[in-house]
Assembly symmetry: C2
Homo-oligomer: 261 residues x 2
DNA sequence: CTGGATTGACTAACAGTGTTAGATAAAACT
DNA sequence: AGTTTTATCTAACACTGTTAGTCAATCCAG
């Protein structure tokens, strides 16, 4: 909600039209939705700022109301953070899914490269939001067990499964050999794969998790400053190198079921 | 500093003898060192507790003194955290280095497996400390630029370089081909490798970072609960599988300079 | 169009946080 | 033995998240 009216248009109307277009509902509902959006936006801005500290009073100050009024939109600070986490998770899933869609005419190997690059790019471009998802939980905040983020996580996993194994034959995916067999691991993967990519062999799903872990680790190390020698350009080049090597390994596994020999 | 004396031995002596043995210095210095150790221990305990919240007042309460007295040992909360981070980083480097030493008679491929397993095991066993090092920086805390942690980071890097390339010939390390050449990346790696493993080719160092990223990503995903389907046993088995596949890939690269074809 | 219910924003207050200032006792050193 | 240094204390400040209670604006049913 902006602090001042524009062009004499009453404040509430301008907000409603510009920020929540085409959404039906009473004026109050639209105003409320707009206010919620602005609160989240301001809170995110504070998390993304240098200090990285988000404080209810600071948000209220920036939005232009008292702290206590915030409680009419979010029951507590944790609920506000939960909303930000859910939004971030969905935005990341959107970005990765979009990359998967944009590359759907390419070969599977190249699709994986594109999606992996999109994953890092989003993390670099939205560091604070990426850390909301994958960083240390903010102190005193505990994520809801089965919340809004699970669907985003599933979309992410499904996109990865799709771009990695999309054009593999059933024989190829079934031929993937796991270096270390383990009954409990197979069981866990079998139940999990049904939620993400039904029909995919558990070993393939396990390989997908492995690839996710590879790219995730480098992204985390980079955005948290543990690769201080690498500037942004070098880190990006290093990442690309890793992705390309992984894509090559994937091709090898596709043909031989394993990378050894 | 314990709350009560034991066996009639005066409190300060017992603490000094049991916690800071063999350290010369005045009684006051030894008491001070012991108090610092206990403060750090209590603070770490609070970070490792369910809530994960460390508060100066809580630490003081548990140690048995007032908040303000803590300021005679640490100038600020951030300095206490800095000490914890430095200790954690060194402890991790110790554990990894010890695994490297313990496996020094094995072949390089197997050494990498052992060290990688030790990396995860330490992270799982000391979740809070691992996150102090590699998690999101605690809000309002900014790590010192070139502090006590750089030496630990170097030791970690050196250990990884050693166990990965320790028994490779110069021809083999020089033959590593990078999928994506980039001038700035090579330059960055060239300067960085001198601090960690002087003499190692930059491309080999880059491969080492890639392997670190692989294992780091899976560990982070696991301890932050992003692989909820995998219980501890399955996560460990999955990790072992990844390590073994990577070791196989390393052997392939050693022989052919690349993993493609 | 009017009256009752709902909603949004407010003031005031509480318990908790990190931090600083100043006083007082004990230990260490000369 | 007297002086300095150190450790601990009490008191206070500004800040945090949160709750209670008040009042005007908005919505909705008669």
């Amino acid at each position: 909600m902006a602090a001042h009216d524009i062009d004499g248009i009453p404040h509430e109307r301008w907000v409603a039209v510009s920020e929540v277009p085409l959404r039906q509902g009473s004026l109050r509902e639209r105003k409320r939705a707009a206010t919620i959006d602005e609160i989240k936006s301001v809170a995110l801005g504070q998390l993304a700022a240098d200090s990285g500290q988000m404080t209810l009073r600071g948000v209220a100050r920036e939005v232009g109301m008292t702290v206590q009024s915030l409680y009419h939109y979010f029951p507590s600070r944790d609920d506000l953070i939960t909303a930000l986490v859910a939004d971030a998770h969905n935005a990341l899933a959107d970005a990765v899914q979009a990359a998967g869609q944009a590359s759907r005419t390419l070969a599977a190997g190249e699709r994986f490269v594109q999606v992996a690059l999109a994953y890092r790019q989003w993390a670099v471009d939205h560091r604070a939001r990426f850390l909301l998802i994958y960083g240390t939980p903010v102190p005193g905040y505990e994520a809801p067990r089965e919340g809004l983020t699970t669907s985003a996580a599933r979309r992410l996993g499904a996109t990865f499964s799709d771009v990695i194994f999309g054009d593999w034959t059933a024989t190829e995916t079934a031929g993937i050999r796991t270096p270390h067999e383990h009954a409990r691991l197979t069981a866990a993967l079998t139940t999990a794969v049904e939620l993400v990519s039904p029909g995919l062999p558990p070993t393939a799903f396990g390989l997908g998790i492995e690839l996710w872990g590879r790219i995730h680790g480098l992204v985390m190390l980079e955005i948290l400053g543990h690769l201080p020698w690498l500037g942004p350009a070098a880190a990006g080049a290093n990442y690309r190198s890793v992705i390309l090597r992984t894509a090559a390994e994937l091709e090898h596994i596709r043909r031989h079921g394993t990378n050894s020999g």
